[in-house]
């Protein structure tokens, strides 16, 4: 899950929480007479105002539309995986186009990771995060030499992946998941 979406979720939830808590607390204080006699929920002055100002409800409709559009953007962000499916390696259009399917790269990374001693499963994805990032999750058997597997992943598997996409600085996130039983199913 994208960290950016998680941060956005926390921020929006905190803002909505503050709004509800603040509004509810002020309303409760007013209902218990902190600001004088409890006022009506819809004061007559408010009803007169909306009757006298024809633009009022159009402004409310505009605000509601903006809220709906922001909510749609927020909703779509939850569904966005950031997965990259193709890599364009073209340097100069005059020399032709070179496109690599991300699946070819990730399958090669998975196969190489799974061939390591102690690895019971591996899953790789190419995502849009910090630019283009390769993420690899590796399930390790409990008997695995974690330090050795890690060294091989970082030094050999990552180097091969970077070589394949001709990007020596390709950011890579590796998650090691130790403690799997040797006979258990891997990630796929």
């Amino acid at each position: 899950m994208s960290r950016r979406v998680d941060t956005a979720n926390r921020t929006v939830l905190a803002l909505l929480g503050l709004l509800l808590f603040g509004g509810g607390a002020v309303g409760l204080a007013a209902s218990f007479g902190v600001f004088g006699d409890p006022p009506p929920v819809l004061p007559g002055s408010a009803r007169r105002f909306e009757d006298q100002q024809p633009w009022f409800w159009w402004a409310v409709a505009g605000v509601c539309l903006v809220v709906a559009l922001l909510a749609l953007r927020w909703l779509l962000a939850q569904l966005h995986t950031g997965r990259v499916t193709r890599l364009d390696l073209t340097r100069d259009d005059r020399d032709g186009r070179t496109v690599v399917h991300a699946g070819a790269l990730t399958e090669a990374v998975e196969a190489e990771a799974q061939s390591l001693r102690g690895v019971v499963g591996a899953s790789a994805r190419l995502v849009e995060a910090r630019g283009r990032t390769l993420t690899v999750a590796v399930e390790l058997a409990d008997h695995a030499d974690v330090a050795e597997v890690r060294r091989t992943l970082e030094d050999r598997v990552v180097a091969h992946a970077r070589e394949a996409v001709d990007d020596p600085g390709l950011p890579v996130d590796i998650e090691l998941r130790p403690g799997r039983r040797s006979g258990s199913r891997g990630l796929r």
Binding site: L13, R150, I174, R177, R180
Partner: protein, 176 residues
């Protein structure tokens, strides 16, 4: 916590989207002197005009708003346990982490290795690992230090010895 927040965010976003669109439709219908579509707002307006903030239903709604606000704030601000713990970096632009669940699994296996340990429960946090080992031995003697050593060795193998501090307790009981 991330999953809970994501589900909640999806539900709230959906509610705000539908609510916002419904409000726009009702305002347009009212401007065109048409009957309300889904929200009987003339009846609601009349009902709300007769109520003050001191009425029971309104107070209940306000208390509900305060409680919901507090729940949302707690969910948004609570950090919870991490999904994965970062390992010290070795190679440039390579970020390696160990999943918390995997870590707990492997530390549990390490903690149950010394003779006399019947079972162990492990909870990893950002800076500490709590290991609760259960033994059937009448006299656990140095079992706590042996379990602590096994856990520390495993953390060392994982490269987390400097990041996570193990806290081991041994109790006489049946374990889980």
């Amino acid at each position: 916590m991330t999953v809970v927040n994501r589900v909640l965010a999806t539900l709230l976003a959906l509610a705000l989207l539908l609510g916002g669109l419904l409000a726009v439709v009702e305002i347009v219908l009212a401007a065109l002197d048409q009957q309300p579509w889904l929200v009987p707002h003339p009846a609601w307006t009349a009902w709300l005009s007769d109520r003050t903030l001191a009425s029971g239903v309104v107070r209940a709604a306000l208390i509900g708003a305060v409680v919901l606000g507090l729940v949302l704030l707690a969910l948004a601000l609570r950090r919870g346990r991490p999904g994965a713990l970062p390992l010290p970096a070795r190679v440039e632009a390579v970020r390696t982490t160990a999943s918390r669940r995997g870590l707990e699994r492997t530390l549990r296996a390490a903690a149950t290795r010394p003779d006399g340990v019947r079972d162990a429960r492990v909870k990893a946090r950002r800076r500490t690992v709590r290991v609760r080992a259960a033994t059937a031995l009448r006299d656990p003697a140095d079992l706590q230090s042996r379990v602590g050593q096994a856990v520390a060795e495993r953390l060392e193998e994982l490269g987390l010895a400097g990041t996570l501090r193990p806290r081991v307790t041994v109790s006489k009981g049946a374990g889980r």
